[in-house]
Symmetry: C2
Subunit: 316 residues, 2 copies
């Protein structure tokens, strides 16, 4: 019945095609914090953010009888997630399911219309080949597990009404599925982001976490060698090394104690590589608690570079 | 970004393609009664029935402030309905929205996986060109308005808790939108079905309604001229005439007082044209109140012929 497909394509006409960015990572890895600054920077009229954790197949009560946690692909409508990612990537609207985290119920779905940019964040956006095919840029958030556990306890107790013991038990229950389904997605990321304290340093307690950004040669990163060098002694440096799987990568290190001056040099260097002729955007680097972080700001700026670059190449 | 589409198509592989039948018609036109017999006949393992009235954009409370009724295309996610029809027609599952008629609320969506046959019934399945492109067979239910009003009053008072006055007021409020959006779909049907009493006859009160089936030459109908002729005096006859828009059509008339013997001849004739070598299926012609109707049975059998014929041609 290929005629039917032809009929449909002819009737549909042409569609806008948004730039698609995936931010994958385990629960409380910092996905929302990273996403928020990008949406604020580009504006909700140009950017749509979608959380794919809404594709739960079962509500909280139904999950009690199941032999897996919410992390397991079988606990999610992965085929529908794939379908919706394809549709969004072709500029089509979707009627997205909605999971209410406060009640644990699946409720009325909502219409999502893709703008110029779509950020898709969640636990499993890079789980399947078809889902990965929908993205222009892929990111995996990879904080040390001890730090992530701490963040999850803080958030789930403050916002979702759990006790620390309950969250720790849940983390233990989820660990085999994290290892089996979440962490393997790191392999598919163009950029792996790790926020962590620098080992062996005694910085003041309000020093932001450092960022280590693995820049894989799967997409074209801005040329930074003219600005940075491999010298370990600087607060920010670019270093060629081998990833855990042996593949060559550039690693951009941004230490938490980086000075505003040094930070500004790098921000400007990234921004100027884009050649927009506009000034560097503000509202980057804001943490969930309201504090500012230059390592976060530079991470977001790099993603912004990729978003705008992909958008520009598409329009060309 | 055509590469992205190629990626997706390659990653998706091939899919089953179900036969798609649309049954359009106004509220209480008899869509569910017609559908039910077909599903019972083919079995729920081979046939999926979808009601597109679930694609309401607003719930009952939200509609109160709106200048239109639930019949208006603007009151429905027509673009999502089109998208879901395309997906089903290509053998893909959908996460279908659900409107709860008893409470008037939009609730948790449900997974629908297309089987060999998909029946799509509702108010607006033939409203747009793209939606129509998804179907192999299209039907419009066209009872006389007086009869439909009577059916709607009976049903809405018995099952949805309204008074006859409320239903009459709603019918009056809906009339301009019925004329503007529902009835124009008649034009796009391969088969127009009209159940009505025969004018000028005094049949016993339990005589079933007669059926008039306009068979448009937009699809290949079974050859019935060898069995039926144009003679007006028979309880069942086939007659060439002009539709209200001037287009030529065959009209198959099945009078309510048709004898079981005459009915059986026609049923067998339709079924044998299919050449399955199997016996005529039962469970056709059952009305909502439990009574049987031979005109309904023949209508359903004709649709069954088209469903199986399309399925066979697809497999060839």
């Amino acid at each position: 019945m290929p005629h039917r497909i032809v009929h449909m394509l002819r009737a549909r006409g042409s569609a806008r095609r948004p730039v698609m960015l995936a931010i994958a990572g385990d629960s409380a890895a910092g996905k929302t914090t990273l996403t928020r600054g990008l949406v604020q920077c580009l504006g909700a009229d140009r950017m749509t953010a979608v959380c794919v954790d809404d594709y739960h197949r079962y509500d909280r009560a139904e999950r009690r009888d199941k032999p897996f946690t919410a992390l397991h692909p079988d606990c999610n409508h992965i085929d529908i997630m794939e379908q919706h990612l394809q549709l969004l990537s072709m500029g089509e609207p979707i009627l997205k399911p909605v999971y209410d985290h406060s009640t644990g119920e699946l409720v009325r779905p909502e219409l999502v219309e893709p703008r110029d940019f779509v950020i898709v964040e969640g636990l499993l956006p890079l789980h399947t080949r078809l889902a990965r095919a929908c993205f222009d840029i892929t990111v995996y958030l990879d904080p040390p597990e001890t730090l992530r556990h701490q963040w999850k306890i803080q958030r789930d107790c403050a916002k979702r009404g759990y006790t620390p013991e309950q969250v720790r038990a849940e983390l233990a229950r989820r660990e085999p599925e994290s290892a089996a389904y979440i962490r393997p997605q790191r392999r598919w990321a163009d950029i792996v982001v790790r926020f962590a304290p620098v080992a062996g340093r005694a910085d003041p307690p309000d020093t932001p976490l450092s960022a280590e950004l693995l820049l894989r040669p799967t997409i074209d990163h801005p040329e930074l060698r003219g600005v940075l060098d491999d010298a370990e002694h600087r607060a920010m440096h670019l270093k060629l090394h081998r990833d855990t799987d042996g593949r060559p990568v550039d690693a951009l290190h941004v230490h938490g104690y980086v000075s505003p001056e040094e930070c500004q040099v790098v921000k400007k260097a990234i921004w100027e590589r884009l050649g927009t002729g506009t000034t560097l955007p503000g509202s980057l680097g804001r943490l969930a608690d309201g504090a500012d972080s230059d390592p976060l700001a530079i991470t977001q700026l790099l993603l912004l570079y990729h978003l705008l670059d992909a958008n520009r190449r598409q329009a060309a």
